[in-house]
Structure formats: C-alpha cells, structure tokens
C-alpha cells in the first residue's frame, strides 16, 4: 500500500480505497470475535491464566498497522491481541499461544502477554507497563543505523505515561531523529483507576516536552487513525523523526477477563455510551454504507468468513498438543 496516494483520485483509487476499508473492517471484526472467544475460553475455564481484552479499541491497532509495511516493527502491551492480529498474525496460532500449546507463536512459553511474531515484525507484547518503549526505540535506532527505511511503532496505554523510561527514550528518539511513532491508547483507565487521578497536566504536552510532536486522534474513528498514522509514518520513513499519537479510546471489558465487578470504578452507563455510540466497527460500517461502498450481503459475507476463521482457529488450538516437557529448558540461551 503506497503512502502517497490521495484517497479520491481515480476510479482505480476508489476501488483500492474500498478494498482497504473493507480489509480494515474485516480485521477489526476478527479481533472482536477473537476476543469474544478468548473471554468464553476463560469463562469456561479452558484457558490458563488471564487475558486483557482489546475490544473497543480495534480502530487503533488496525488503523495504525494499515499504514505500516510487513517489515516495519511494532511493540505491544499486555493488551496486545489487537496489535498482533492487525500486524498480520494468524488467529489459530494466537489461540494456540493463549492456550499454552506448542503450535503457538512462542511455543506456549509466552502466553497472552508475550506474543511475538518476528515474521510480521511484531517484537512482542510486554507485561511490564511501558516496558517495550526501549525495545521499540532501539529498533528504530537499528533501522537508522542499518540505513533501512522501516519504521517502528510503540503501542502503550495511558498508564505507561507513569513510567520514566518512556521519557528517557523519547528524548533520544527526538535527539537522533529515529523513525518511530509512539501510539498512546488512552482508554481512560490504568487498571482500576481513572487516568486523571494518576496523570497530571495536559497529556498532549508530554511528548512535545521531549521534542516529539504530538497529534491527538479520535481512536474510535479508524479513518482518522489511519490518516494520521499514514502521515506520521511517511514523515518518519523520510527521516523526519519521531511522532506521538494520542488516541482516545475505551475498553469494553474489564481490565482483564476476570474483572467482572466494575461498578466501583466506572459506571455501566459510561460503558453503554461508548459501546452504543462510539463503537469503532459500527462507525466504520455506517460510513461505508453512507459512501455506498458496501451493503448488507457484503457485511454478512465478511461476518461469516471471520466467524469461520475464528472458530476453526480455536478448534485447532484446543486440539493442538502441549509442548514436550523437555522444552522447558530450551530457548534460555541462543
């Protein structure tokens, strides 16, 4: 996908545009269904441990990754399924990883919070809040040193703004003009605490103070996310340095699958408002219909395809074998 085309130039472009938005729609839907199945696996005690669901935030991962090439890098978080799928990972191997199976992306050793997929440039989810900022910035440094035109994207939540290392590395990215985009997914909560209780000042001033320009984006509007990402990625690719995308969003589920009683920190009304009025998938669907780019049958077809893929992937993972016990001592050293 080229970075320079203007969305409304020619008929071919129109077709391309339609294909692009439909692909994004499908990806968002895939993430949504994937996670609903993950939640069910947890609820039915078929998944070990916990998982942090991305539902509600899909437009960010999909919109940003649509602006990336396969060989660009991303780093991700504990809430990382969306990033991983958006960057091109397969549903079946992701399910397998979440279930601790040998066929998983990390042979079952990483689990939900550590899925990495080198083939799609995913340098890994990270269970340390802010923990991947150094890795992403180092990848950008490496890109620059190798004279490559790749770009690195660092995804993190509003809570990561509490971690000093983020500012340390943004300072260096700005000093040395690294090709990196810091994507802050502000879903308003650090676990069970609203970010206003933990985060002083104006969020958009944070990166600017370290020489990294910030753009604030409606994280529910995939078109806004994609457009901004396109511009910032192009800029970075051309050697013009880092940028910061502050994306406002919301998570539909609890902090993790086990966080069921949420009334003490946020209201049902608030959740409903986001789900009914600001759902990224619905917003894109509405726009596609409005633009005449799609119709009911097409939506149905996509829905069925996604459902089938997710169900097959889940089945594959449930049937897949666990790693051999002998593997426990493998991969400690390269």
């Amino acid at each position: 996908m080229s970075q320079t085309e203007s969305p409304k130039a020619t008929a071919t472009n129109k077709d391309e545009e339609q294909a692009r938005w439909l692909a994004m729609y499908e990806q968002m839907l895939t993430i949504r269904h994937f996670e609903e199945h993950v939640n069910q696996l947890y609820m039915t005690a078929r998944m070990p441990g916990l998982a942090h669901l991305y539902s509600g935030e899909e437009a960010i991962a999909v919109g940003v990754c649509a602006a990336l090439r396969r060989d660009d890098y991303i780093t991700s978080t504990h809430r990382g399924h969306g990033h991983c799928l958006a960057k091109g990972a397969r549903v079946d191997r992701m399910f397998a990883e979440l279930l601790g199976k040998e066929a998983g992306y990390c042979r079952g050793k990483g689990g939900s919070m550590h899925i990495a997929d080198q083939d799609t440039g995913n340098l890994g989810a990270n269970a340390i809040v802010g923990g991947s900022a150094g890795i992403a910035t180092g990848a950008a440094m490496s890109i620059k040193m190798r004279g490559s035109d790749q770009v690195a994207v660092c995804f993190f939540g509003d809570g990561a703004l509490g971690q000093g290392v983020l500012y340390e590395v943004m300072n260096m990215a700005a000093l040395w003009k690294f090709p990196i985009i810091y994507v802050c997914e502000n879903n308003e909560y650090n676990e069970y605490t609203h970010y206003r209780e933990t985060t002083a000042g104006d969020l958009s001033a944070r990166s600017a103070a370290f020489g990294v320009p910030c753009e604030t984006v409606d994280g529910q509007d995939i078109r806004a996310v994609y457009d901004t990402a396109q511009r910032l990625v192009a800029r970075a690719r051309q050697g013009e340095g880092p940028a910061f995308m502050l994306c406002n969003t919301y998570r539909y589920y609890g902090h993790h699958v086990g966080d069921i009683q949420r009334a003490y920190y946020r209201s049902k009304e608030e959740e409903e408002r986001w789900k009914t009025q600001r759902d990224p998938i619905q917003l894109l669907a509405d726009w596609l219909v409005e633009q005449g780019m799609t119709d009911h049958t097409l939506f149905e077809r996509i829905e069925q395809k996604v459902q089938a893929e997710v169900e097959a992937g889940e089945q594959f993972a449930l049937n897949a074998p666990f790693p051999d016990p002998g593997e426990v001592e493998e991969d400690v050293y390269a």
């Binding site: 070990p48 441990g49 916990l50 990883e97 601790g100 199976k101 990390c106 079952g108 050793k109 990483g110 689990g111 939900s112 919070m113 550590h114 990270n126 269970a127 340390i128 809040v129 802010g130 923990g131 809570g159 990561a160 703004l161 509490g162 971690q163 000093g164 650090n190 676990e191 069970y192 605490t193 209780e197 933990t198 985060t199 003490y264 920190y265 666990f322 790693p323 016990p325 593997e327 426990v328 001592e329 400690v332």
Partner: protein
C-alpha cells in the same frame, strides 16, 4: 509469645482461622490505627484493594489520604517512600508484582539501604516495601519471579518471607515498627492459605527461625511458599519412616544461622528450598551457611532446590516443572537418606 507451630496445633481462646491475605490486612489496619504516621501507597491499592484484593476495606476505614492510589511509577513511589520515611512518616509502598522491583532497585538499594550509613547514622528510613513472589499462576516470565536474593544481598535492608498467616501478621507488624527499610515478600499463591492467628496484638522478631515441624532424620530449610511444599513432603516422608524437621528462617536477613545449623547438626542431612532461581539464589546462602556451620556433622552434601534456572514459561505443563514439589522434595530426601 505464641510460636506458629504452637498456634497451628491448638485452637486457643482468642485465636481464629484466617487467610494469609486477611492476616496482612489486619496487620496493616492495626498498625495504621496505632500510628498515624503509617500510610500505604501503590498502584490500585485503594478502592481496588490491589489486584489480589488484599487491601480491600482499608481505604474505607483510612481514606484516600492514607491509602493512596499512585501512577504506574515504581521508581517514583519507592523514592517518595524513602523521602517520606526520612522525614517523619512510616510509608508502606506496594509493588504489585515482585518482578517490578527491577524498576525500583536504584531507589531501594542506592537510596533506602544506604541513607542511614552514609549519613553517619543520623537519618533513618523506616520504610516497608510490600511485594509479591511466586510462580504457577500462569502469568509467565514477567509476573512470576521470586527475587528475594537480590535484596537479601544488600546491607542496609531487611528481608521478610512469611509462610503462614500467623507469621505474616506478626512479621509485618515488626516490619512496620522497624526503623530500617524492610522488603516484605508475599507469596501470591498463598493469600488464600488459612491458619490460626491470635486476635490480640503480637509481633514476631526478625532473625528468629521457626521450626514448623520437628524431626530427626533430615532438616528441610524452606522459605515462604516452599514451607507448605516442605510440610507436604514431610507428611509423605513420614510414611516412609523418614522424620523431617522443617525449619523456616522467616527472614533471610537477619538470618538465624544458629537454628539452621543446630537442626542440621542434629539430623546430619539438609535440603534447602526457596522459590527463587536456584543459581546465585537464596538457597546458595542457606546451603553454604549450613555446610560451613555443620561441616563436621553432615553425612551428605546439603542439597539445594530452587526454581529451575529458566524464565518462567506460560504453558502450565512447562511452568509446573519449574518449581519444587512435594514429590521432588521427597525424592531428594530419600536419596540423601540413602533410600534409593
């Protein structure tokens, strides 16, 4: 003072069965009532009561000025704890997962541990850092470590590893009343462990090991989560007519070397178990203390059992292999006792 073994054998008047999590909550609440300088700060400690729900109810009693939700800034909150402790408060800093102390090591080790000495004894740091340890929760490599060896290594720090509700409550009170920085590790898989705890105020001195079970054939020194494993192993060993003495040091510093050595001298055989990585871990210190102190009494080398030296894997089938189990302890004990 009641010893925990005493408590666990009799249901005395004024003694109730509560969980380790409740014991910790009680210790905190009682100390906060007793001393207005005591306060708690950490991530999601207030209304959420931590992800482990250990602190539930505290913010309701003490308010948000004494049970303080913080940003996700482990280094920063540890630093605030040090400064607060130096200037008249008695902070308790909650570091949710022990794995995160890497972020706060400079504050804990270069600041908290050294202020008293560097100031020639004038400044004091009565700080408690509560954190967690332990694997088998299926939370993988960055949420499962038991890093007590790091802080046990550092002069200026005291390090506590409670294994029962009784110990947890008494030791936490001692920690809060201590004028030094104390790192308090809670076994995150043990919060639901039940035990008898008096309903009166008591403290447990640091540096006093507790014989959790007396025995004559072999000494098993175990810390924190591994005490339960050792006790389970002792039950199995009893069936094999091997009588194991379970010794719980309770604090890795100060360390009650005498009790460890005396037990090993008595039994002539020793196993040491700790859930931290085995190499350069707590077991190395305990084993070498015993090997030196009981040298002329030992019939076999001291055997160390720590976590396997691998990052903790996610997959349950792998993770379960990384920690000592009652069965693996029994095997080692049998070998040491020449029963194979």
């Amino acid at each position: 003072m009641l010893s925990s073994s005493t408590v666990s054998q009799h249901t005395t008047a004024g003694v109730r069965e509560i969980t380790l999590g409740q014991a910790i909550r009680e210790a905190l609440a009682e100390e906060m009532r007793r001393d207005p300088r005591v306060f708690i700060m950490g991530e999601d400690v207030a209304e959420a009561g931590t992800p482990f729900k250990v602190l539930s109810g505290l913010v309701e009693e003490f308010g948000t000025s004494r049970v303080i939700d913080t940003p996700i800034s482990e280094a920063g909150i540890a630093g605030l704890g040090v400064g607060g402790a130096m200037t008249g408060m008695r902070p308790i800093v909650d570091i949710m997962f022990g794995d995160f102390i890497g972020l706060a090591m400079d504050q804990i080790v270069n600041q908290a541990a050294k202020v008293h000495y560097m100031s020639g004894g004038k400044l004091k740091v009565p700080l408690v850092v509560r954190t967690t340890m332990g694997a088998t929760r299926r939370t993988a490599a960055q949420h499962s470590q038991s890093l007590q060896a790091w802080v046990s290594h550092v002069p200026g720090l005291k390090v506590v590893l409670p294994s029962t509700p009784y110990d947890a409550k008494g030791l936490l009170k001692t920690a809060i009343r201590d004028d030094n920085p104390v790192i308090f590790f809670e076994g995150k898989m043990m919060y639901q462990l039940k035990g008898l705890v008096p309903d009166t105020d008591y403290t447990i001195p640091f540096g006093v090991a507790d014989i959790k079970r007396p025995g004559v054939d072999i000494t098993i020194v175990a810390t924190s989560s591994m005490v339960q494993i050792a006790l389970a192993a002792a039950e199995l060993l009893e069936k094999l007519e091997i009588s194991a003495e379970i010794v719980d040091p309770r604090t890795t510093f100060p360390l009650d070397k005498d009790t460890l050595i005396a037990s090993a001298k008595k039994t002539s055989r020793a196993i040491v178990i700790d859930e931290g990585y085995e190499r350069y871990g707590v077991t190395a210190e305990l084993a070498s203390v015993i090997a030196e102190g009981a040298f002329y009494y030992l019939d076999a080398p001291v055997k160390r059992m720590g976590a396997m030296d691998v990052p903790v894997p996610f997959s349950p089938v792998l993770e379960d292999l990384t920690v000592p189990t009652a069965a693996s302890v029994v095997e080692v004990a049998k070998t040491l006792c020449g029963r194979v």
